[in-house]
Symmetry: C2
Subunit: 334 residues, 2 copies
DNA sequence: GAGCGCTATCTAATCGATTAGATGCGAGAA
DNA sequence: TTCTCGCATCTAATCGATTAGATAGCGCTC
């Protein structure tokens, strides 16, 4: 069994025509085909269960219909959701998605880009956790378009699609002020690069007039934020109002606060800046500024597949605002 | 710019040899090459920045090194983690991963399988949310191997890699009994198919002697479990000890319980059966039986890529046990 | 010194779809 | 009747890597 899949030539033979005509029928080809012939071809194709070989087509037409997605880690809810939307946006445009998880290693990122280029992808979507290194450079050298989503290197040629981080932070600060908070702390990442750096600067600006703003730092994991929270509570140094740069960190803060018996939102008002689906069903539910992940994914894919690359591509593209979703953790809805 | 990528022929010309020799060098080919010639070829390849065209290779050698992964939804943490591990297992074996999210639609699942087959994938990993329809059937008809992970149809020919669901449930029940609970409820999905059906049956067996076991049902979402919990609490019908079939549901229960002021674990002891990374930092942290997702992914990939398909493939393969991880939600660690 | 064996290399067919150029055929014009 | 135009179709080159078969060159042996 496992008989050889049927080819264009098989269909042509069965329909009593040439491969050219079959091809014209399959693609509504560059040339017309008589109605009667078209019928015969379609019938033959159906009977043989013909499935066009995209590899052969790709070799000839120099376009595969496949886009590579370089991800940090699909098991992180934020990146997972982004990946899902990118795949969806590509599917809507009849493209297939090759994925790879680079973790947080620039080396593995390079390696993936290399493998995707060898696979002749039509384009590359790069979701990089940090701004170190221009992973898109080899792609551009090979004439393959690339787009960064969420984050990108400073000097790169590839466009970067990001959310409106400044607006999100301003909205979060304003909302906590409405709840009466005078002093609003910020939980940033270990370094000020990428979107979180932007968020931190926006926070700096927004709380410029406040007395002694508190800046906290920990790595982007639940575990780290949990540990930090426990320590601060035990030292009596926990702020009363906090903006967490990422959902992961906010969830860790919630976990640590629960473990210490620190009530949220009564003793800690918390807002997070990602707004992944995770945030809606924490205990208590997180107030977030919701990044328009689907809009970002669509914008990125459009940029990638739009035929004419502008001479001077916009280095940074913002895709929609990050709307504030009030839930329980800030003090709303009590 | 965007000059044509260099080919085998370019390298051969530059090295003053034939394409055959270059190919032999690149693959440590089926024939040996003199050391001096090999040097010249490697130098030429490096100077030209030669990158082998995997599409051309695939056409000739009838194997692409690409595996298709049909997923329900990468933004669900359980499926996201599974996807990440499958990709990792494939990467370790030098394969690339094509992904597609089928949502919960059998129609879209079929569509994806069709597209992956057209792309000439070497195999298919299917992570299906339910047991409706044998998505692997068209692949088998085309001679492409397929494996189900997490779940699979009853009568299919493709192997199904799943966790030890019965053992997990027995462990969870036993653990709650150790905490002194006499009556242990179970939160299942809307229907008794797939792994959750197996879990429900195992629960049935484990609580067979108990007085009036309580079986709850809701769909596999945080929202549904949250709503169900609020209703039960308001009706005074909430059980004191509960096993949730999935992490998503357990997190929804936690969220609903928090909103109603029902303390966990004091008034509700809760254990969940997935054990995704999510479960470690909820408030309170969830006690879970942890499915060996990486082991499952590796087993599936091995099954897929192992050369000889056994005449009668084992219909169901279990990959490791699901160990109980005691945390706070069951009453441990107070 | 003719013949043999061995290695290193070259030539060319092949995978399956695409498509430019060549061909065949019939209708209408002159 | 013959010539021309246009449509429908066929022929064959092409994409780039792989690899079986052919060949060239060298060292040995008898």
């Amino acid at each position: 069994m496992t008989k050889r899949a049927s080819t264009l030539a098989d269909v042509a033979r069965r329909a009593g025509t040439s491969t050219a005509v079959v091809s014209y029928v399959m693609n509504n080809g560059p040339r017309p085909v008589a109605a009667a012939t078209r019928e015969r071809v379609l019938a033959a194709a159906a009977e043989l269960g013909y499935r066009p070989n995209r590899i052969a087509r790709a070799l000839r037409s120099r376009t595969t219909g496949v886009v590579g997605l370089v991800l940090a880690d699909a098991s992180n809810p934020y990146f997972g959701a982004l990946a899902r939307f990118v795949e969806q946006a590509l599917e809507w445009r009849e493209r297939l998605t090759l994925v790879g998880n680079a973790g947080f290693s620039a080396e593995r990122q390079r390696h993936l880009v290399e493998r995707f280029l060898a696979a002749q992808v039509d384009g590359l979507v790069i979701v990089s956790p940090d701004t170190a290194g221009d992973a898109a450079a080899p792609a551009e050298a090979a004439g393959v378009p690339a787009v960064y989503v969420h984050n990108g290197p400073a000097g790169g040629r590839a466009p970067v699609v990001a959310a409106d981080n400044e607006g999100a932070v301003r909205a979060a600060v304003a909302h906590l002020r409405e709840h009466g908070h005078r002093s609003i702390a910020f939980l940033a990442g270990p370094h000020d690069d990428g979107p979180v750096g932007v968020r931190r600067e926006a926070w700096d600006a927004a709380v410029a007039g406040d007395p002694a703003p508190v800046l906290l730092r920990c790595s982007y994991s639940r575990a780290a934020a949990d540990a930090l929270t426990r320590r601060l509570v035990s030292e009596g140094a926990m702020p009363r109002a906090l903006i967490a740069a990422t959902d992961e960190q906010a969830i860790g803060v919630l976990s640590g606060a629960w473990a210490c018996g620190l009530p949220v939102p009564d003793r800690l008002a918390l807002i997070s800046l990602d707004g992944t689906p995770e945030s809606a069903y924490t205990a208590p539910a997180l107030t977030v500024t919701e990044q328009p992940l689907l809009a970002m994914a669509e914008r990125a894919v459009d940029l990638l597949l739009s035929p004419g690359t502008p001479a001077e591509p916009p280095a940074r593209v913002e895709a929609g605002v990050a709307a504030l979703v009030p839930r329980r953790s800030c003090g709303c809805g009590g």
